[in-house]
């Protein structure tokens, strides 16, 4: 019974596959996987928009959407209808072809990236030998879409937003990939499926997830900070920054194209969070041995929703960074820490199992953080805030 619920989607897919002739099966299998990804993550997108608006509302001491349906639960439907029925405005001076293509260039790679994330046992749409490399490769294509959107709109704010976005995405891609390298070193594979297999089992009651090692914890934190920046989430939402540059590169988008950008952004968040789960949080493995009767896909989506909840919380809590702070964080703090973390992961790999490697690796992770943090804190002279006029 447990086995059946765990594999229910795989069984369903095999059953559907046997209903078509043999020569069509590879194509039909691909179509089924793609359809499942699109439907699942688009639904999750709808749920997340509602969660985010509700959550932000609570943080800001207001209700959030509560008019459409019970408790505002049908708000995503209303949002979708609004996006579909709004007029699609293209600026007179815009570069029409590039303006049209930009949202597509964003959404397609993001769906491709979701294909290598295993959402359950035997549930990776694309189990390739170089899964992690594939993920980062297609993720790089989204930068181009941001540029296309910003440039083709012929709008100063759009171009500024695109420039900010590209600078930010390129900068944070470095710590993102370096943080992921530690896991690749530990698992000895670039395949997402074997990375999850390497995290199976328990140390006593504690799961053998990468996040529960010194380098894994540091790597996870670095990865999630860089992930927030890669998907332009607050506090790294300078490219959009509605209070500074209107909405950055999608100022000139309306109707369904705007909805596509919105979708692409959230799907990018899901993809990078899913990769974070795969790399550090044990993928679809249950956190405790006696909870393994719950299906593997449940654990993946539970972890994903927890991470999304974290992102919403951070968005409601932290103010936006300044451009120089953004660059300083990536190049001066996160890059050296990620490099030190790789060293720690290497030491962890070759030291004998025991308390010794815990101590050495913790020192290798914590000391650079303290030294760098103190050095930068000393220079910026942060003291007690002085109110000049409102005393």
């Amino acid at each position: 019974m447990v086995e059946t619920t765990d594999q229910i989607f795989v069984i369903l897919k095999h059953w559907l596959l046997h209903s078509v002739p043999d020569q069509w099966q590879p194509l039909f299998s691909a179509v089924l996987s793609v359809a499942a990804i699109i439907v699942t993550f688009a639904t999750l997108f709808a749920i997340t928009t509602l969660l985010e608006r509700k959550g932000l509302g609570r943080i800001q001491n207001r209700y959030g959407p509560n008019r459409v349906g019970p408790y505002g639960l049908l708000q995503p439907v209303a949002d979708g209808l609004k996006a579909l029925t709004k007029e699609d405005i293209i600026p007179h001076t815009a570069d029409k072809a590039v303006h049209f293509l930009a949202p597509l260039v964003l959404v397609v790679p993001v769906f491709l990236a979701l294909a290598v994330v295993p959402v359950g046992r035997n549930m990776a749409a694309l189990d390739t030998d170089a899964g992690v490399l594939f993920f980062f490769a297609v993720g790089a294509a989204t930068e181009l879409s941001v540029f296309m959107a910003g440039w083709s709109s012929r709008n100063k704010y759009s171009l500024l937003g695109a420039m900010r976005a590209i600078a930010q995405m390129i900068s944070y891609e470095v710590p993102l990939i370096l943080a992921a390298v530690t896991v690749i070193m530990a698992a000895g594979s670039l395949s997402t499926v074997s990375i999850i297999e390497a995290q199976a089992g328990y140390w006593g009651v504690v799961p053998r997830w990468n996040v529960l090692t010194p380098w894994g914890l540091a790597g996870f934190i670095l990865f999630m900070i860089a992930a927030a920046a890669e998907s332009n989430r607050s506090p790294f939402d300078l490219p959009e920054a509605e209070s500074e540059i209107i909405a950055g590169y999608y100022t000139e988008y309306s109707g369904f194209k705007f909805a596509l950008f919105f979708l692409g952004e959230y799907l990018g968040l899901f993809a990078v969070s899913g990769m974070g789960i795969t790399l550090f949080l044990g993928g679809w493995h249950a956190p405790l041995a006696w909870l393994e009767w719950l299906p593997s896909w449940f654990w993946f989506f539970a972890k994903l929703l927890v991470l999304i909840g974290g992102f919403i919380w951070v968005r409601g809590t932290l103010p936006r960074l300044r451009m120089d702070q953004l660059m300083g964080l990536a190049w001066k703090l996160m890059l050296p820490l990620a490099l030190a973390n790789i060293l720690a992961a290497g030491v962890w790999r070759f030291m004998p199992v025991g308390a010794g490697r815990w101590i050495v690796c913790s020192i290798l992770v914590v000391v650079p953080y303290l030294v760098l943090g103190r050095a930068f804190a000393g220079r910026s002279q942060m003291g007690k805030r002085v109110y000049r006029f409102a005393d």
Partner: protein, 167 residues
């Protein structure tokens, strides 16, 4: 010739022609990106996964962005070019034809065509990684050193400019 190969070939060649002949420089850069993607697709159809993904990561993720930045920072993106034909294009066509003739001549007379085709060696990502970390560790380190030196040099140039301004 299989259908995927034909599609990729047409797409790659068409976008390469577009990259050379379009009026707007940014359009040229975007067309060039499609060419890069087509090349990556070629590598993937040849089962060279690592090279294919690295091609996407480096060329689309970095080189294309670099080209686009260079165009925008040098004000080339504003005005469409006057004409893409000039006296030098004749010379260029001549050189291109000569290079194509030479290459095709070499390929047609090479021994690879007359010999029987051996099964291609399996080059998985794991093998490439093991080779890079084992047999070819020294070249890898040297390349790493070279790139680091270039990076530090770039930072130095940028910093000196800033100091001059403050004086």
């Amino acid at each position: 010739m299989s259908l995927p190969f034909a599609i990729i070939a047409v797409l790659t060649l068409a976008s390469a022609v577009a990259a050379m002949s379009l009026r707007n420089l940014v359009h040229c850069a975007l067309a060039l990106t499609v060419t890069f993607a087509g090349l990556a697709a070629f590598y993937l159809t040849l089962d060279a996964q690592f090279i294919g993904y690295a091609q996407i990561l480096v060329y689309i993720g970095a080189v294309a962005i670099l080209i686009v930045f260079a165009i925008l920072l040098t004000q080339g993106g504003d005005a469409p070019r006057q004409s893409s034909f000039s006296a030098s294009s004749v010379v260029g066509v001549g050189i291109a034809v000569a290079v194509f003739g030479l290459l095709s001549g070499i390929i047609l007379t090479s021994r690879a065509l007359t010999h029987e085709i051996r099964p291609p060696p399996e080059a998985t990502v794991r093998q490439i990684g093991n080779q890079l970390m084992g047999k070819f560790i020294l070249p890898l380190e040297v390349v790493g050193l070279l790139l680091t030196a270039a990076l530090i040099g770039a930072v130095l140039i940028a910093m000196r400019e800033k100091q001059d301004k403050s004086r």
